[in-house]
């Protein structure tokens, strides 16, 4: 015998014990219930018996005398007596054997009483059978036995002592005493069978109940055990969850601080999940969590999307980690630069199942990088310009001197020659070439922004109008010129000569872009810039501007051309045709004037250059109405200081030709000597850049010693040195080289005629006095 059988036997025993217990319990319940029935039924019977007695035989008579019928007393007292104990026991000791036996006997005695009270009516005998049936409720055969015993004894005794009352006759056959009991036995027998049956059913039910209870108990025990286990598990899990939550929070905070989110792409199900920070960075909504990758890439900038896709595809193919910078467009329209990093996770078979990684906001870094790159570019550009400028400046100095001489002598020759002279035309050609050369030098200096600007208050409409005739000639008959002027155009402060240069360059370019003819439009307008706007690394501050737009409907240009447009020496026009200096010059001039130049062009759809110059409220001074033909002269004494003898000689020749008394010197020291000896010089004209002592120093010395002597500086270019010397700041009189005889003469006259403060020149025109022209 092993332990399991023991246990099962034990369990079986336990069940049968429990079944017996349940059976007993149920039986007791039934018995008590039946006791209760009788505890009510019997008093009712009693009352009924009294009522019956009162109804059937209330009084007994003797002649005319009557008294209460003994039946009434019997009903009251005997009935009461019979009823008393059973009811008492049923009420006080329900469930006891004695109680139900008493009830059984009492009930039968009550039957007897009732039969007596009803005069032995057959119907009243039904009370016996009914009572037996009710007693059968007890499901206790012993109760039925005692009940039937009472019936039988009653019958037997009455049959013996009062046979007539039972059988109707005094001497009845013996079997008759069994007839009545026989019927009783008949009923009792079947009642007993039914009792046995219901008892065995009760047994069965009890056993079933016991089994059910046992099963229930097992289940409940299991449930309790499991619940306990679960509770423990739950607590454990809650703690783990708590920890998890904490570390998740920390991770989220760390991610937030670093602007670094994490993500995971389930390649099998194509579901992407991400951290809070990633959500923020991509501007996603929580509902989108778990959406496919294609959906997640929706926010990626369309220009970057192909590259992102390609990088990820590549990584999926090679299983190599990747880094991918890309822009995203947030729902509010803002752009953000993100750096995504990813790795591939492979399954056992080496197939990628997951891609996971991080994404970091590198907008600021990118911005800083861009800014750095831009400023580097600008630096490079300015370095380039610087180099070019140096070169140009260096060349220009000597070049201008040469050109000054060429132009000067050509001019002088032409003055002294008749137009019919056979050489007149030749000299004219030389002069023209020299002029072109000087304009080239000027351009070189302009784009390197080393040009000496003489700004004035201008109305651009007027500037363009003045040029119109010349422009028409320049662009030829195939190109139609139209101008659109803003009648209320504001004024700008700029060097008119330079602005003309710009317009000219742009017009020439437009013509070149329209080899088969077209339309050139020059337009002016007032423009208000309300937001900082930048273009080609140049920022236009908010404010009022005058715009000059020059448009053509020519070839237009590609983005590549556009990006190099303003670089010096950039040209598409082939060797010998273009210099690549036109736009560089324009750019230099405009930038120097505090403005901006912008280009709008598409290949084959024309080009528009827009020039923005700051608007000024200053009033324009009346333009010096200079008659080119009038070359003024004078008798004052002038000292010309110039290290380049050709230039010096030219100047002396020109000035003497105009009637001045001129002395010359080839350096500053000699000049000072001369001035000291002869302090009557009205004007000293000096070159700025000279060996040993510069013209500026000389000028200062003269000012110190002879404040009445006026000084005119001349130079081929504005140099840092020049600016350093303070020429530009101190508003000294200045003459640009190369100069024509007429220009020199005019400038000299101008300086000599300037009132009060000697040697004073106002380049911005603020205090400039009208120039008096002397013939």
């Amino acid at each position: 015998m092993n332990s399991s059988t023991e246990t099962s036997n034990g369990a079986g025993d336990a069940i049968s014990v429990r079944a017996a217990e349940l059976f007993k319990e149920q039986q007791q319940n039934i018995i008590r219930h039946t006791d209760r029935i009788f505890s009510w039924l019997m008093p009712c019977q009693w009352l009924a018996s009294v009522a019956i007695a009162l109804w059937i035989s209330p009084r007994t008579w003797a002649g005319v005398d009557s008294q209460i019928h003994p039946h009434v007393w019997f009903a009251i007292f005997l009935g009461g007596a019979i009823t008393s104990l059973p009811v008492f026991l049923a009420r006080t000791q329900p469930g006891k054997m004695l109680t139900r036996q008493t009830i059984a006997i009492g009930q039968m005695l009550m039957s007897a009483l009732l039969i007596h009270l009803t005069g032995g009516r057959i119907e009243t005998h039904f009370h016996v059978f009914g009572s037996l049936a009710i007693l059968a409720f007890y499901r206790d055969w012993r109760v039925l036995i005692s009940a039937s015993a009472v019936v039988y004894v009653d019958h037997l005794l009455r049959g013996f002592f009062w046979p007539e009352s039972v059988y109707g006759v005094l001497h009845a056959p013996i079997w008759r005493s069994f007839e009545h009991a026989g019927w009783v036995m008949f009923e009792v027998t079947f009642l007993m069978i039914s009792i046995r049956k219901s008892l065995s059913e009760m047994h069965l039910v009890a056993e079933r109940q016991a089994r059910l209870e046992a099963v229930n108990e097992t289940i409940e025990r299991t449930v309790a055990e499991r619940t306990l286990a679960l509770t423990l598990e739950n607590t454990e899990r809650q703690r783990t969850e708590e920890q998890l939550r904490k570390s998740q929070t920390q991770l989220a905070q760390a991610q937030q601080i670093a602007s670094l989110g994490s993500w995971e792409w389930d390649l099998v199900e194509n579901r992407v999940t991400w951290s809070e920070e990633t959500k923020q960075l991509y501007g996603r909504t929580p509902e989108e969590l778990g959406s496919p990758m294609e959906h997640c890439l929706k926010r990626v900038h369309p220009e970057d999307l192909p590259r992102v896709n390609q990088i990820m595809a590549e990584s999926l193919r090679t299983h190599e980690p990747f880094v991918c910078d890309h822009r995203v467009i947030l729902p509010d329209g803002k752009e953000r630069v993100l750096q995504g990093r990813g790795e591939i996770q492979l399954n056992g078979e080496g197939k990628p199942i997951k891609m996971f990684g991080t994404v970091q906001d590198i907008t600021e870094t990118k911005r800083a990088e861009d800014a750095l790159r831009r400023s580097e570019e600008q630096l490079r550009q300015s370095q380039k310009m610087e180099a070019v400028g140096r070169l140009a400046g260096g060349v220009a100095h000597d070049f201008n001197n040469l050109l000054t001489v060429i132009e000067g002598y050509c001019g002088l020759s032409l003055q002294e020659m008749k137009e019919t002279h056979p050489l007149y035309k030749h000299i004219q050609e030389i002069l023209r070439a020299a002029e072109r050369a000087s304009s080239l030098t000027g351009q070189l200096l302009a784009f390197s922004r080393k040009q000496f600007l003489q700004p004035r208050v201008l109305q651009l409409n007027e500037v363009v109008q003045k040029m119109e005739k010349m422009l028409r000639r320049l662009i030829g008959e195939d190109v139609e010129l139209s101008t659109v002027f803003d009648a209320a155009l504001g004024r700008v402060q700029a060097d008119p000569h330079q602005i003309e240069q710009v317009i000219l360059n742009l017009a020439v370019n437009a013509r070149d872009a329209m080899p088969r003819g077209g339309k050139l439009t020059i337009k002016t307008a007032n423009i208000t810039v309300d937001q900082k706007s930048s273009f080609r690394n140049r920022v236009l501050e908010p404010g009022e501007y005058i715009m000059l737009a020059i448009s053509d409907n020519g070839l237009g240009m590609t983005d590549d051309v556009k990006s190099h447009l303003f670089e010096p020496f950039f040209t598409t026009k082939g060797l010998g045709k273009g210099t690549g200096l036109g736009l560089a010059t324009c750019y230099g001039i405009i930038c120097q004037s505090g403005g901006d130049i912008r280009v709008y062009s598409e290949p084959n759809s024309g080009t528009t250059f827009k020039i923005y110059l700051p608007r000024t409220d200053a009033v324009p001074e009346p333009a010096a109405s200079s008659d080119a033909k009038l070359i003024p002269g004078g008798t004052e004494s002038i000292l010309v200081v110039e290290d380049d003898s050709a230039v010096r000689k030219l100047a002396v020749v020109i000035l003497r030709g105009r009637g001045y008394q001129v002395q010359e010197s080839n350096n500053a020291f000699e000049a000072l000597e001369l001035i000291r000896k002869n302090s009557r010089f009205d004007l000293v004209i000096t070159d700025v850049i000279m060996p040993q002592m510069s013209g500026k120093e000389l000028c200062d010395q003269i000012k110190g010693q002879l404040p009445q002597t006026r000084v005119l500086l001349m130079s081929g270019y504005t140099d840092d040195a020049l600016a350093h010397h303070g020429i530009l700041d101190e508003e000294l009189s200045f003459l640009e080289k190369p100069f024509s005889p007429a220009r020199l003469a005019r400038k000299v006259r101008e300086v000599l005629d300037a009132p009060d403060v000697p040697g004073r020149f106002h380049p911005n025109g603020k205090k400039q006095t009208p120039v008096e022209l002397v013939s």
């Binding site: 008579w61 003797a62 002649g63 005997l78 008393s84 007897a112 005069g119 009455r158 009062w162």
Partner: protein, 204 residues
């Protein structure tokens, strides 16, 4: 513990005794025979009722208020049903002179009157009862056509006790002519005589 059981047992015994005793007493009461006076062997000369010369004549004396007599009336009904047409029956209801008329007009009287072949008569002051020696309600006499007494006694087995009884059987056999000797049974019922003379001895 013991005392309680003993108490309970003795209580039970006492109760059983009392109840059983009660039943014995009631049985005994039921079986108490009423008194019978001297009944003439030959039909006496009376005015109120007359002897039937063709059939036997049955006379029952009844107290109109007696509850026990109901059983007797019922038995009479059964009896007459068995001997239909061969018997002339009278039920004489005691009627004391000093009492109101409706004292005798009871259910019992109506029931008796409803039995076919029965003649109901009042017996003022129990004159006839005295003549026939009837002292108990339910007393029945049977005379043959020649006026000879055939039967005297009750036709119930006990007081107010309906059902088979010796008296009824005797009458049936007498009427059928199977027996000719005088027979008698005890009679159960209320006394027809007032208290003062109820204990005048009983005889068969």
């Amino acid at each position: 513990m013991f005392s309680i059981t003993a108490l309970r047992t003795s209580l039970f015994a006492l109760w059983l005794l009392a109840a059983g005793g009660g039943i014995v007493v009631i049985s005994n009461y039921q079986d108490r025979q009423g008194s019978v006076g001297s009944t003439p062997e030959q039909w006496p000369a009376v005015r109120q009722i007359s002897l039937n010369h063709d059939h036997d004549t049955l006379v029952m004396f009844a107290h109109p208020q007696c509850p026990c007599t109901r059983a007797s009336v019922e038995e009479l009904n059964r009896l007459l049903a068995q001997c239909r047409g061969r018997i002339a029956a009278y039920v004489l209801f005691f009627k004391p002179g000093q009492l109101p008329g409706n004292w005798t007009k009871t259910d019992l009287k109506q029931s008796a009157a409803a039995i076919p072949g029965v003649t109901v008569r009042d017996d003022p002051d129990g004159m006839l009862a005295r003549t026939f020696g009837a002292e108990t309600s339910g007393y029945v006499l049977l005379y043959d056509p020649r006026g000879r007494l055939l039967f005297r006694g009750g036709i119930t087995a006990g007081r107010g006790h309906a059902g088979d009884n010796a008296g009824e059987n005797a009458i049936v056999s007498l009427v059928a002519g199977q027996s000719t000797s005088l027979q008698g049974t005890p009679v159960y019922g209320c006394s027809l005589l007032s208290q003062s003379c109820s204990r005048r001895g009983a005889s068969q």
